[in-house]
Amino acid sequence: MDIKINPSMVCADLSKLGDQVKQLERAKVDMFHWDVMDGVFVHNFCLTPDVIAACRPYSKLPFDVHLCITDPASFIDSIVDVGADIISLQLETTPHLHRAVETIHKKGKKAGVVINPSTPPSHIESILSELQMVTVMTVDVGFIGQNFIYAMLDKISTIRNMIIEKGFNIDIQVDGQINSKTIHKVIDAGANVLVLGKSGLFNLSSNLEEAVMQVRQHIQSVIKDQKSKK
């Protein structure tokens, strides 16, 4: 399975986001991750529809928007309008998940569900067949620089097995302290989309192309190790 690099844009240089998007596209990342927070579901604020819209002309790669808010379903339309390709709903705040996912599909976009560290994998079982992506939060959502929760590795494996068993083709994304210390673990567990923030990408080098290259090389060595173990 191809491992995808998904830079978390709140960790980029916000003074020149258009340029950052262009540099990352040149460096061949696979998509862009945009967090929207409401100060209620999480006690923090983040990126916004206007910011996403302003950056949209700078890349043709998929924009993946994570709605970390109390009522993601009511913002689907505005997020689609600004150019999102994948819309990820927080499971804990979307009581009518099938309806919300259907709304996303009707707009011709990919639907994802994000689950918090304490949410058991069984909670996504009955929606799994409808999803293109599942995001396992590996820290509690809302702030950068937190500690990776190692119990999430089991959860990732469980979800990967559920997906394989049912014969689905669904990405598993991991978000929260994904860096050189954790990348091999999450890939081994079955994740294939890596949301990378400060420690995983932006702090590696002042040159973003160089930073992405370092991550690529690291991923390649992890896959090589994996193959030699088999």
Partner: protein
Amino acid sequence: MKNKVKIGASLACANFANLEKDLRELEQAGVDYIHFDVMDGHFVPNFALNLDILRLVKSIISLPIDVHLMITNPDFFIPIFAKEGCRVLSFHQEATNHHQRELSRIRELGVKSGLALNPSTPLQVLDYLLTDIDVFLIMTVNPGFAGQKIIPATIKKVQQLRTTLDREGIQADIQVDGNVSFENIPQLVSAGATMLVGGTSSIFKKGCSITEAIEKIHNLLNSNA
């Protein structure tokens, strides 16, 4: 006695693909302050700026920042934004029940206290708060989105508030926010506004550079004086 009229730029209307460029142009062109909107998708059905952007603005320019919290839980975020550093911190009258407590908390943190009123909120809610407020923020549209038309009744509201403040001998700022356009600025200033928030109908108007727009506002204010 009124303060000198100050021009503020509504940062949420800037170009986020190249924020640094807009920030430098705003400073160069002589705006007096940055108006910094925070939205939560609850109090208003939209999202705006955040703490990372606040830190970024401070690292690039040295203009005073005036934070406008359009959120349901200002009590939680007031100390966070005040400690981050801003000149004025405003929250909405409609969003909390503890106005004196929050206003004095803002002043205790060394920041000027601001209270924002939606267009439909009557001035009477200010009766017991007049001396607790440094900046009276009168919304001239319903908060949440750029590009709306001014609600004419709010101009009269500014006038009435200025009359009350004058009667009480209070020399506070009245800030106006929402469709503060080239066309509306003269009457807002005559009504008694001393802090303008310029967005997509003036400072960030399409077809006009930031520098040109600010020059135009300066000219309007000079001919008004």
